[in-house]
């Protein structure tokens, strides 16, 4: 017991003082691979993977590190994508401002819903978040500016800072890479900050954290809002990539999908959500020709994942390597 405490402390110290070497290497390799990627695979596909990787990482901040299962994250992802699409198309904002507007909207939405939901726990928390997400869906369906089931189509890609055209796939790719990779690094930073340590303490033993004098609800609200904001960043970016914001992004099955990605990759790991998002998006892309079998295959992965690989792909790897990933 004492040993274990010491090692966790040691890890905690290492984590707060800087990035472990292994993580540095992985992030560098990842960045290098991502820079080459658009010249090897179809850039739009790569961008989709990155958007979902950020979305899953944002979700993982809440579930894996905050211990809160939200079943309504589509609200922030989709909400932000609608606002960003509207900002770019109707208000004529430049891409970076449109994304910023969408992200800010998700932050506000997350703050409001978070403040109302964090008072509940476990399955009730999940259900309250689902209820609010259904309301956001309802607004997206009924409101005038969202275009009903057509969504907001033909969003212009525009010029970055009003200067650099993003019409080309490669230019857009590097814009998206900057946003999503930056977002993921920021999430990493949050997790390994003193704030992140308190979060873990709350997740492990809430009464103890309270007795230590931490305002638990304030921490939960902050992490909820942060997670919603980053999910919003992912959604806003996605709307710029596909030039479209649609009901798919706010539907409850999107909330389910992000749980699947996180779980498959390994919740509570740094790289798990990225891997999970990569696997699911690739699968959806390449299995599209199988038609109805896609749902069946996805279901089988769910079942096998829960029965055999509950730690997720990265979780299993981390156990082999005996290092946190």
């Amino acid at each position: 017991m004492a040993m274990a405490d010491k090692t966790t402390e040691a890890v905690a110290v290492a984590q707060t003082t800087g990035m472990p070497r292994l993580h540095k290497i992985i992030f560098s390799v990842l960045l290098a691979a991502l820079i080459v990627l658009p010249f090897v695979v179809y850039p739009i596909f790569a961008m989709k993977v990155m958007c979902f990787a950020l979305f899953a990482a944002a979700f993982n901040l809440l579930l894996g590190f905050g211990g809160l299962l939200s079943f309504g994250h589509a609200a922030y992802f989709g909400g932000a994508s609608y606002i960003a699409a509207h900002a770019a198309k109707v208000w004529g904002l430049t891409p970076e401002l449109a994304v910023l507007t969408g992200t800010a909207a998700a932050a506000v939405l997350g703050l409001v819903i978070g403040a109302l939901s964090i008072r509940r726990q476990g399955i009730y928390f999940a259900m309250v978040t689902l209820a609010f997400a259904q309301m956001v869906y309802f607004v997206a369906l009924q409101a005038e500016f969202t275009g009903g089931e057509d969504g907001i189509q033909s969003v212009p890609r525009g010029d970055l800072f009003g200067l650099i055209s993003l019409e080309g796939n490669i230019a857009l790719y590097f814009f998206v890479l900057t946003l999503t990779f930056g977002g993921i690094l920021l999430l990493y930073r949050i997790v390994h900050s003193p704030f992140g340590q308190v979060l873990k303490a709350i997740r492990e033993n809430e009464p103890r954290a309270i007795s230590l004098g931490y305002d638990v609800n304030r921490y939960k609200l902050i992490v909820f809002t942060l997670s919603a904001t980053m999910a919003g960043l992912a959604g806003a970016t996605k709307s710029q990539v596909f030039q479209l914001a649609s009901l798919t992004d706010v539907h409850w099955s999107m909330s389910g999908e992000v749980v699947l990605m996180t779980l498959l990759g390994g919740m509570g790991t740094i790289f798990g959500p990225l891997v999970g998002a990569g696997i699911i998006v690739t699968m959806q892309n390449y299995l599209a020709t199988f038609g109805a079998w896609v749902t069946v295959i996805q279901g089988v992965i769910f079942v096998l994942g829960v029965l055999l690989f509950r730690e997720g792909v990265v979780g299993v790897l981390a156990r082999w390597l005996k290092k946190p990933l």
């Binding site: 090897v40 179809y42 739009i44 596909f45 089931e149 033909s154 798919t248």
Partner: protein, 399 residues
């Protein structure tokens, strides 16, 4: 990944290199719903239809190599546009066929224009494809909501159904269907006594039907599609609404839906279609071949994929290449088509294919002599009367 790159460059080379050689390579993508509500009326059947067109066109003998691929857009615009983009960018697709679900069709139409392909839409109903969002590369082949409204709406109003109550699926498609029909009803001296917006999708219509019953209308217009319409009709029979004298008008309904309901429940229903398998010898012969491969009779959407593909291939042959979508679409607008399934077809400057539409009535169980013997033809509506007039700004032959 490297292999994929190699394939895509090969495809690009094939497309670019094609005009220099005598033989032409064409790649067609059938993009439709393969697992959702429209899977039975489009789906794999549309792929079968496209293959039959390639066969009947004798493409091989004419030195045209045609490759057909297909995918499921799941009725979601984001998935559909993603596939379309990838088809044009990576797989070297020249034309996209079918595309039911208006929201997806509109998204694909934009991408098609941007990538200089051709969209030959058979499955979607939105008039916006050739109006508000018209594009030079969009061809809208089979039907649209205005044509359905002109068929069913006009016929029923003239037959004495002057007071209409609409059950409208609460999304853009439902509203546009209702609007189109209401215009036709009013133009024929009828009136709209009420409308209820039903959340989509819905399984229970009893509450809305009861409201329609209480409204004193003589026609209940069902401005919805697929499973929603099926459920609404079933429940109208159950609540004795049709027996009490109110008539139902299914504004978008396909032969597969009638087949699913059975003549017992669907009898007497009026509907408008562009094609029915049992119209004449040519349609019967073709449908028999279709039935042998696919196991069901063709819908008008699947027949439209066949006839649209025939027309497209003829235009490609005339142009000598499939690479320039704009040129092929322009050629299609110059040509006259005489087709075994749709008869005489002319593609207008805005991309709207003009052909006759037909008003059908569902047979009673006594009249029906087989599983698929479902319709009596009431009248035919000429293309000029069925479709909306062309908007000047959408006439791409003038530009």
């Amino acid at each position: 990944m490297i292999k994929k790159l190699a394939i895509s460059t090969a495809a690009m080379a094939a497309v670019i290199g094609a005009p220099a050689l005598a033989d032409i390579t064409v790649k067609l993508g059938v993009l439709n719903d393969r697992s959702g509500v429209y899977a039975d009326l489009s789906g794999e059947g549309s792929v079968v239809a496209a293959r039959m067109a390639v066969e009947d066109f004798k493409a091989k003998d004419k030195g045209i190599t045609v490759d057909i691929i297909s995918a499921d857009h799941q009725n979601k615009p984001d998935i559909g546009s993603n596939i379309a983009r990838q088809w044009y960018d990576v797989d070297g697709v020249n034309a996209i066929l079918d595309v039911p679900t208006s929201s997806v069709a509109l998204a694909v139409a934009d991408i098609t224009a941007e990538k200089n392909g051709v969209l030959i839409d058979s499955g979607a109903g939105s008039t916006a494809l050739t109006r508000e969002q018209c594009r030079p590369t969009t061809i809208h082949w089979t039907y649209d909501t205005a044509a359905l409204a002109n068929g069913t709406g006009a016929a029923m109003t003239k037959a004495g159904g002057k007071k209409w109550f609409f059950l409208t699926a609460d999304y853009a498609f439902g509203h546009s269907l209702e609007e189109n029909t209401a215009t036709v009803v009013k133009a024929n001296g009828g009136e709209v006594v009420g409308t209820v917006n039903v959340p989509f999708p819905a399984t229970d219509f009893s509450s809305f039907l009861l409201q329609a019953q209480g409204s004193g209308a003589n026609v209940i217009g069902l401005a919805n599609a697929g499973g929603d319409t099926v459920n609404a009709i079933k429940q109208a029979a159950e609540f004795g609404i049709t027996q009490a004298g109110q008539k139902l008008a299914a504004l978008l309904f396909f032969v597969t839906d009638v087949h699913a309901l059975g003549p017992q429940t669907a009898q007497g229903l009026s509907l408008t279609e562009a094609f029915y398998w049992d119209q004449n010898d040519a349609t019967r012969a073709w449908s028999k071949r279709f039935m042998d491969t696919h196991g069901a009779q063709p819908t008008m959407v699947q027949a439209g994929v066949y006839s649209g593909t025939m027309a497209y291939l003829a235009a490609v042959e005339a142009v000598g290449s499939a690479a320039d979508g704009k040129a092929v679409a322009a050629k299609m607008k110059e040509m006259d088509f005489d087709d075994p399934l749709f008869g005489k077809v002319k593609v207008r400057g805005d991309g709207r294919a003009i052909h006759d539409m037909y008003l059908f009535e569902v047979k009673t169980p006594d009249q029906s002599k087989g599983e698929w013997d479902l319709y009596n033809q009431i009248s035919s509506i000429s293309g000029e009367d069925a479709f909306l007039p062309m908007l000047d700004e959408c006439d791409f032959t003038k530009k």
